[in-house]
Structures are given as C-alpha cells and as structure tokens.
C-alpha cells in the first residue's frame, strides 16, 4: 500500500474529525451519532486485516495495493482517487489508514466470465480500511464480488473505486453479513466512460451500523449506470444508504433500484439523488425505491431527490413504504399456507427484483440471509 507518512496521516485524521458527515442525526428513531463515530482503536504500525483473491484471469491483473503501487504504478494512478471525492468524511478516514487493498486491472477487450472475488477479513474488535480499485480499459468486461469476513466488534471503513473507459462494462457486487455488533462503512464511487456501463449492487444485511455511499458519474455520452441496493435492518440495527448518480453530459442513462425491509427496532434511511446537468440533454434516469415495514418498532425513511437542470430528459421516480398486504396474506392462506409462511413468501418475493440484479453467485446466499431476517421478527 502507498506509504502514508505519519504527518500526512495525522492531517488526514484531523480533517476526518472536523468534516461533517451530512448524514442522519440522532432522534426519535435513529440512535447512532455518525458525527462522533471513530474506530475502536486507531491502528498503529502494521494494520491488521487481510485481503484474499483468486489468481488473475489471463491478461488481467488482480493484486494487493502494495504490489500494484510497486509494479503497476502508472496503471494504478489512472484510477486511484479519480472517482472518489477526497473531501468526504469517511473517504479521509480510509485514506489515512488504508494499507489493505486490491487492484483489478482489465486491459482493452479483456472479458472475464467468472466473477473476480475479493475478500477482506478483520479479526475480533479489529479495524480495517480496505481500498479496492478497478480499472477497465476500452471494451473490457468483468464482474467483481467483494466479501467481508468479520469478527465480532469489527470496524470497517472502506472505499471501492471504478474507472471504466469506452465500451467497458463492470459489475461490482458486495454483500455484507457482518456480526450484529460490527460497523461497516463503505464509499463506492465510479466513473462511466463513453458507452461504458457500471453496475453496483450492494446488500447490507448485518452490522450494528452500516453506512453505504454509492455513486456513479456519467462523464461521456452513452455512459450507463445501474445501482441495485438491498438493505434490511432488524433488532436494533441501523442502515444508512446514499446513492448519487451524476449525469454530467447528455445521452446518458441510469437506473437505481432499492428494496429495503425492517423488523424489530431496525432503522433505515435511504437518500437517493439523481442530478442531471443543464446541458445533459436526452439523459434518462429511473429511480425506484420500496420499503417494507415488518414490525411496529421498525422505521425506514426514504428520501428521493431529483435535481434536473436540463429540459429534454426522461426521469422517473417512484417510492413506496408499506406493511405486508393483508389481502395477499389472506389469499395465500386460502391455499392452505400458514400465515408465517405467507409472510415469508411475500417478503422474499418483494426482494426478488433486486436480488436478480446481483451476480448469480450471491443469489442463494442472499435469499437464505433474508429468510433468517424475516423469521427473526
């Protein structure tokens, strides 16, 4: 990993502490103060955690960040820090400590069939700051699956960054099933080039606190973005998801799909922003978010925001927040199926469209996790 000098780290830490997050404040429902959030102990010397990945497909590079810096510095520089906003609170925290990371490089027209899996692990009570960088050259295609293996009380503050050049297509999926006392914070930022596609899918299932910030900047005509997010706070879990799509130029397309549920005293918040710049004509944006409340104490706030400065665009937005449909439960019941099973069936069905956006390798794991979440009401 790039050597971060002690003085630079101190300065970065100071900026982290003084930068407001702009996120949810504590109140009647939300109980965690994000502004004063710090890791359990700041790591010194060699940070803990580990990164693992399978060997790179032919022509591609998959390596840890230290190796990338040493051996592929020029390639890394084309993506590192390009998509992410360095002024964000948690970006500063990751950058102050990141020693753990992975670099995925796909040369022009390199097409990888099997998903490239990257796994970060942290021991009990350990803090890790993983940083994944993906550079896809012209016409390259791949799916990256990021996993977390966390001990109890672990703290994760990470970044994933994607740069796609013309006609490239990158799908990047993450699903966290962290222990219920862990905290997981991720900033995911991407730039989609001319006629290129970026697909983010993230599932926030575990952790006491999960903050996910997902963004795509559509910088060239023909660029496409797809964001699929699934989150499900139960017991006293808190999940805060922010997605932002920037249509910087015209003839760009985006689709954001968010499905969430909450039970127990689970708290969720979703802020979804679509920005279409003044000259970004003929852009198309779709934002759909649906929330399902499965208990009296559960709460989900959904705040979609469309900021459209161009006049010749297509933008659609729809949001629902609701409980399980009693008529549907009765209907299923009249076919001999017990109420608890009917509820499970409807809740799982609700998530199917978003599960469909994840790579197939995660489908079964997600369904099983959701079954457990629904049953734990």
């Amino acid at each position: 990993m790039p050597e971060v000098l002690e003085t630079e780290r101190e300065a970065a830490l100071e900026r982290f502490r003084s930068t407001p997050s702009g996120r949810e404040k504590t109140g009647r429902f939300w109980k965690i103060d994000i502004e004063t959030l710090v890791p359990p102990s700041f790591p010194h010397g060699e940070a803990g955690g580990a990164v693992a990945f399978a060997s790179a497909p032919p022509r591609a590079i998959v390596c840890d960040l230290a190796t990338a810096k040493r051996e592929h510095g020029a390639l890394l520089e084309r993506a590192l820090g390009q998509a992410v906003d360095a002024n964000r609170k948690f970006v500063q925290l990751t950058r102050a400590f990141a020693r753990l990371g992975a670099f995925v490089y796909l040369p022009a027209d390199c097409s990888v069939g099997e998903p490239i899996e990257i796994s970060y692990s942290a021991g009990e009570g350990e803090a890790i700051f993983p940083y994944t960088v993906v550079l896809a050259e012209r016409g390259a295609r791949a799916t990256v699956v990021e996993r977390l293996q966390l001990g109890t009380g672990a703290f994760v503050c990470g970044i994933a960054e994607i740069v796609t050049e013309a006609h490239a297509e990158i799908a990047y999926a993450s699903a966290q099933f962290a222990p219920l006392d862990a905290r997981v914070i991720f900033t995911r930022a991407a730039i989609s080039g001319r006629d290129a596609t970026v697909r983010w899918s993230n599932a926030e299932i575990g952790a006491a606190l999960s903050l996910a910030d997902v963004g795509v900047r559509l910088e060239q005509p023909g660029a496409r973005a797809q964001v699929a997010t699934l989150f499900f706070p139960g017991s006293s879990q808190h999940v805060d998801v922010v997605s932002a799509i920037d249509h910087v130029v015209g003839d760009t397309t985006s689709e954001t799909l968010v499905k969430s549920a909450a039970n127990g005293a689970g708290q969720g918040r979703y802020l979804g922003t679509i920005r279409i710049a003044a000259h970004a004509q003929h852009s198309e944006a779709m934002l759909r978010d649906d929330a399902l409340l499965l208990s009296e104490g559960a709460h989900i706030d959904s705040v979609p925001a469309l900021e459209i400065a161009a006049n010749d665009v297509k933008a659609f937005h729809g949001a629902t927040v609701g409980a399980l449909d009693d008529e549907a439960i009765f209907y299923i019941g009249t076919r001999g199926i017990e109420r608890a099973e009917a509820e499970r069936m409807i809740a799982l069905a609700f998530f199917e469209p978003v599960i469909d956006r994840f790579p197939a390798v995660l489908h079964q794991e997600l369904r099983e996790a959701l079954v457990r979440k629904v049953a734990s009401a």
């Binding site: 019941g333 017990e338 099973e341």
Partner: protein, 256 residues
C-alpha cells in the same frame, strides 16, 4: 368424519358492524353443484369470505361445518387444509412468487406428499392445456400483470391442482369472454372427471346464469338482501334469465 357436506346453519355475518348475512341455511353435498345467484350487493361474496375466514368479515352467529368439522374456529389456511377452496373474484397479485412454485407449495400444504414433483408437473401441464394456458405462464409471477381472463384461469388451475372437497367459485364467470368461459367450464368438468375431484362439491356464485349453460347445477339458490329467498332446480336459473330478479323479489316478499 363423514361426508355430511358443507353445512351452513343460520349464518349471520357483518362487515364494519353492518350486518350483511341475515341467517343463511345451506348444505352443499359432496359431488353436487349448487349455484348461488342474486343481484349485486345481496351478500354472495360475503358468504364466500365468511366461510373462508377473511379477517374483515365478522361471523356474529350461526355455524358452518365441513364434513362435520367446525370451520369458523379455524384460520384460513386450516380451512383450506380441511378441504375448502375459494376462487377469488379479485385475486391478489404477488410479484416475485412464481406460479409453479406457489402451486406446488399450496398442493404440499393441502395434500402433503401425495404427488411427486414430476407427477405434479405432468398434472399441471395437462390442466393448463385444458384451460388454454400457454406454458409461458410457468415463468410468470402470481397474477402479476395478468388480464382478467388470465386471473380467472389461474384460479381454476389452482382449484384443479388442489382438488378440494368443496370449491366456492365467486363470480369466476364475470368479465369473461365466450372462450374464457368455456375454458373455465371445461376445467370444472375435468376436475369432476378426475379421481381426486370426482366428489368435489361446488358452490358457484354468479350474477348471470350464463355459466350454468355450461355446468348444469343440481340446485339453484337465490339470495336477496342477505337471505336465501328461493331454492329450486336448474329451471330456476332459466326463469331468472327470462324474468330477472325483481319478479323473484316480489314473489318472495324480499326487501331490497
């Protein structure tokens, strides 16, 4: 339990405190077809929902038993497992639940372990053929984006696959074109011709006598204002077609 029928005695039922059923007495025997006719708002659907246990319908007095088993104390799923089926007039759409998965789960709930998945699938495809349903239905979500006719066909498909002891068809004929009506009638006949469905008793709720030209009822009841005011044979349905409900209303002194 003996096959003593679906027996409804002096049933009173309310919705939001308003009494809709004002004492219904009715016995549907195994293997028989009963038609329940009546003008809109007479309480026909209320009877269907009261028997199947919809939480909004409050049975205030009376009894309902299925082959001797008390229905009214059971949850909707237990009533179904006892052998009662309702074909909904407006079935719920459940996006994300695939038609064959749902049918198999329902079949397993109502008649556990009787059919291997392979036999189930063969039976399903053969009944879909009777109903004129394209195999592409198997890839669709339950009632999601279905036309009116498709929904009714799926209700009939469920009935055939569950082979209940007693089936209530709540205005399954309404809104259907001639072809769909014929398919629906064929599915009832196919169920009655099968081993499982030979002894199914039917209560066909309808506003119009049209469906009864395809399925001849053994008994016809006329319901007006929450009461069964007249009972007869198939000829009664023809009379209603010719003369309308007003004549029956006047003849029986039923108040609108």
């Amino acid at each position: 339990m003996s096959n003593t029928g679906l027996r409804i005695t002096n049933l009173h039922s309310s919705v939001d405190g308003n009494e809709i059923l004002k004492g219904i007495d009715l016995v549907v025997e195994r293997g028989k077809v009963h038609a329940l006719m009546g003008p809109n708002g007479s309480g026909k659907s209320t009877l269907a929902f009261s028997l199947t246990g919809h939480p909004k319908y409050d049975v205030t007095s009376g009894t309902a038993t299925l082959d001797g088993e008390d229905l009214l104390g059971l949850s909707p799923d237990k009533r179904a497992r006892a052998g009662l089926f309702l074909s909904f007039q407006y079935p719920s759409a459940i996006p994300g639940v695939k038609v064959p998965n749902f049918l198999y789960a329902a079949r397993q709930a109502v008649r556990p372990g009787e059919l291997t998945p392979a036999k189930f699938r063969a039976q399903l495809l053969s009944m879909m053929d009777v109903l004129g349903m394209d195999p592409s239905f198997l890839g669709r979500y339950l009632n999601d984006g279905f036309s009116g006719g498709e929904k009714k066909r799926l209700e009939m498909l469920q009935m055939a696959m569950l082979a209940p002891k007693y089936a209530i068809l709540d205005e399954t004929d309404s809104g259907l074109d001639i072809d769909a009506l014929k398919d629906v009638s064929e599915s009832v006949k196919a169920l009655r011709a099968s081993d499982e469905g030979a002894a199914t008793g039917f209560l066909i709720i309808t506003h119009y006598p049209r469906i009864l030209e395809h399925i001849t009822p053994d008994v016809v009841h006329v319901m007006i204002d929450g009461r069964i005011v007249k009972t007869g044979d198939a000829e009664l349905a023809h009379r209603i077609e010719r003369e309308g409900y007003d004549v029956i209303r006047e003849e029986t002194g039923a108040v609108a």
